[in-house]
Subunit: 135 residues, 2 copies
């Protein structure tokens, strides 16, 4: 794991949260993106080497919709950049962490991603991500 690539924040409505975070972070949202596989629309901000990724659910059945129902708005996950996601998945699996999926899948922002189940990480949902172009 090389750095905190982004922090994911679950919100109800990007239309309200994008201008709020633009003022809060004092920087413009530079990209929005729909991730069909996850049923989410995302909005990105940059601070130093880390992105802040707001996540709005596109349906009432996706993971973000379920999160909002259970927890309300707030921090959803921390994503760490890795150079070789398959090697990192293997390392963590062998150390006893429970991965959500056995192979990486394509996530937002042109990344291969894999999540680690929060029950083994003190309640923190961790994402591993690797730039597809950077492999």
């Amino acid at each position: 794991m090389q750095k905190v690539e982004h922090i994911g924040i679950a919100v109800k409505e990007l239309s309200a949260s994008i201008p709020l975070f633009e003022i809060l972070l004092n920087t413009n949202c530079y990209k929005t993106e729909i991730v069909e596989s996850e049923n989410v629309k995302t909005a990105f901000f940059k601070k130093g080497e880390t992105k802040i990724e707001l996540l709005e659910s596109l349906s009432n059945k996706g993971v973000i919709a379920k999160y909002l129902e259970k927890h309300g708005e707030g921090m959803h996950h921390i994503a760490f950049e890795v150079s070789d996601i398959e090697a990192e998945m293997k390392r963590l699996m062998q150390a006893g962490f429970q991965l959500m999926g056995t192979i990486p899948k394509v996530g937002a922002d042109n990344k291969l991603v894999c999540f680690i189940h929060p029950k083994n990480t003190n309640g923190v949902l961790i994402e591993l991500c690797q730039s597809i172009s950077g492999k």
Copy 2:
């Protein structure tokens, strides 16, 4: 706001969570510190320009104890580094954000800190921090 200085994670017991995060992050905890004013013991890890700060409560009355009781273990706050905390507090207050305190206080890791109330930030507890030595 310049970068994500650290991400705070509330845990029940550092004695269990430090070795867990050392394996997870593949790096050693490089410092622990007691912050008397907050009734917490902290443990720090570094990934890129960002720290991961684990927080254990030293009493059953502190903010972390209350957080654990309500939410369980998990992500507690995001701290952004600022170069002039008083100017940033003024900017955010004028923009309508509610600050927790009108003057910065001394937090962990030799920093002046101020928190922004999560009710105005989509449920995310935001910390502003400025290195005391860097002022």
